[in-house]
Amino acid sequence: MAGYCGKFLRVNLSTGEIKEEKLDLAMAKKFIGGRGLATYILSGEIKPGIDPLDSANKIIFATGPLTGSRAPATGRHMVVTKSPLSGTVASSNSGGFWGAELKRAGFDLIIVEGKSEKPCYISIKDGAAEIKDAEKYWGKLVSEVTDGLVEESGDPKCRVLCIGPAGEKLSMLAAVMNDTYRAAGRSGVGAVMGSKNLKAIVVRGTGRMVPAEPEQTKKVLEEVRKKIKENDVTAKGLPTYGTSVLVNVINEIGIYPTNNFQKSYFETADKVSGEALAEKYLVKNMACYGCPIACGRYSKVGDVEGEGPEYETLWAYSANCGVDDLAAVIKANKWCNEYGLDTISAGATIACAMEMYEKGIIKPDEIDGPPLEFGSSEAIVEWSRKMGASEGFGAKLALGSYRLAQEYGVAELSMSVKKLELPAYDPRGVQGHGLQYATSNRGGCHVRGYMISPEILGIPEQLDRFSLEGKALWVKMFQDLTAVIDSLGFCLFTSFALNVDDYTDMFNSIVGEEWEPGRLLEAGERIWNLERMFNLKAGVTPESDSLPKRLLEEPIPDGPSKGQVHRLSELLPQYYKERGWDEQGIPSGTRLSMLDIA
């Protein structure tokens, strides 16, 4: 049973019952683990049409077969549930150490169901679990809860996953935080924990994972580590400047969304870039479990310090809000971490509110905080705090840009897909990436098939970013491969240096299989189709495979990508065809049978 622990926990918060259940190993392998396996369980155990904040929803914390192994960058876990923000399947990925600790405690995953009457937390120590009172932690910030629970456990080595006040207040943008600074950020997964009165899960484990083929594993891992060490991106770019090294690249190409995607070039981007961060505020680099890349940053401005900001956060709060004040971005990031908010959606929602304010749709007299003006440092910091606390007008922002804009009758000003705010790349200047936004199973997301890699960075090969040729197939392949990487328990950044053969070799030697790379990719495709079927049954129709009107109709007004719009209507039919779906975007019975999920 190498790779997998072979058992999982089922915690019912309504009854207080905790059960240890045996993992169906054949089923686990069919869906790999992590994201795939948890989606399979969720699909079978909840009715897709339910209200995500109802106690009938379940939330699954899942590791992959390689999470916590000796393979590099395997500190990842997934939080899988039905998203309150988008109504789609939510599977948010996080790094740090918590996932690896869960494996060491002896469990592949935890299924949490029902709803506790009072605030509670789950404590797990080497195979034993209990539900404990969390009354005194309710309302507390993430760092306070984390420090408090570590102290209460009496074991400084335990790992804490928790929500902040945003999750308690059922903010649609609430993240599930772990190890203080890491976030399963997207899709509002923190609100599902909040709806169950579940404040935290504390884990401590001392077990060791033994690979199925120790000698072969050693050989394979040596080879893989060498590749990571010799790759320019994983050995130099990411360790030196972190993810925010991308700020200047994406801006110079003219796809850096500015002022809520009204422009795509930010004149003063260099003041809020990875280079500027390293020069002014960087304290040290940080690494997750078993990671040789160490892209994490720890920064400090006055008495505000902590991990981040990452590239996406820098963008959401700087260019997208028109702010070139790096200190203010670090402060806004800090509020997001403490209140437990997704920095992409939080920054993007403030940007949307700023455009509505600029256009006179939101009136000065209806807001109880700083004017929502593009370029205002004060606005991004204070409105982040108010969103986190759901205080005053902040409570409206806490529901996300789509619900905010829709309330005022201007839903088209929300730069989102399936109600999930778009990240830091204007798809008008990078066609494949735009197709990926439109078709991602969780909505406007960049890490379900990171087409920036081939279309901008030239990895594994340089594609013409404006061309449509072959893009549908590239998107499909990247989406399937990403499902594999997520489900195995790897950090996606390993894929800058590794390919599907490397992942297959590691899977085979650690789990003890003799799979061909194609079989792993087929499992990725199976996971993708399973997620699609969940969404369709949940009422998320193919009409939502779209992009905001602005990106389809208004050409980029300035910069190196001037004049471009996204050509989704040409790409989408090709994509459906590559996926083996019908013209309406419904997976065909034949394809589902082929993938054994009919």
Partner: protein, 74 residues
């Protein structure tokens, strides 16, 4: 002719952020790299006026050249 050169990430160390440089007519991006002591292999991403370029491309007056090492992230 004068072209504007922008350097990013590690290329700034010991060099500069942004500078105007003088080249003779017919010079290429390769000549520019040579003058900056950046090898073709090191130059992960070359942009000429915001569009992808190769070291073989010729420079013209008032071009904006951006040079990045191999980068990734997100």
């Amino acid at each position: 002719m004068v072209v504007e050169v922008k350097l990013f990430a590690t290329f700034r160390k010991g060099r500069f952020k942004e500078r105007e440089m003088e080249f003779s007519e017919g010079s290429s991006l390769g000549d520019l790299l040579k003058r900056l002591k950046i090898s073709r292999e090191e130059a992960g991403l070359l942009l000429l006026n915001g569009q992808y370029a190769s070291w073989k491309d010729k420079l013209t007056a008032h071009d904006v050249v951006s040079i990045f090492p191999s980068l990734g992230g997100g």
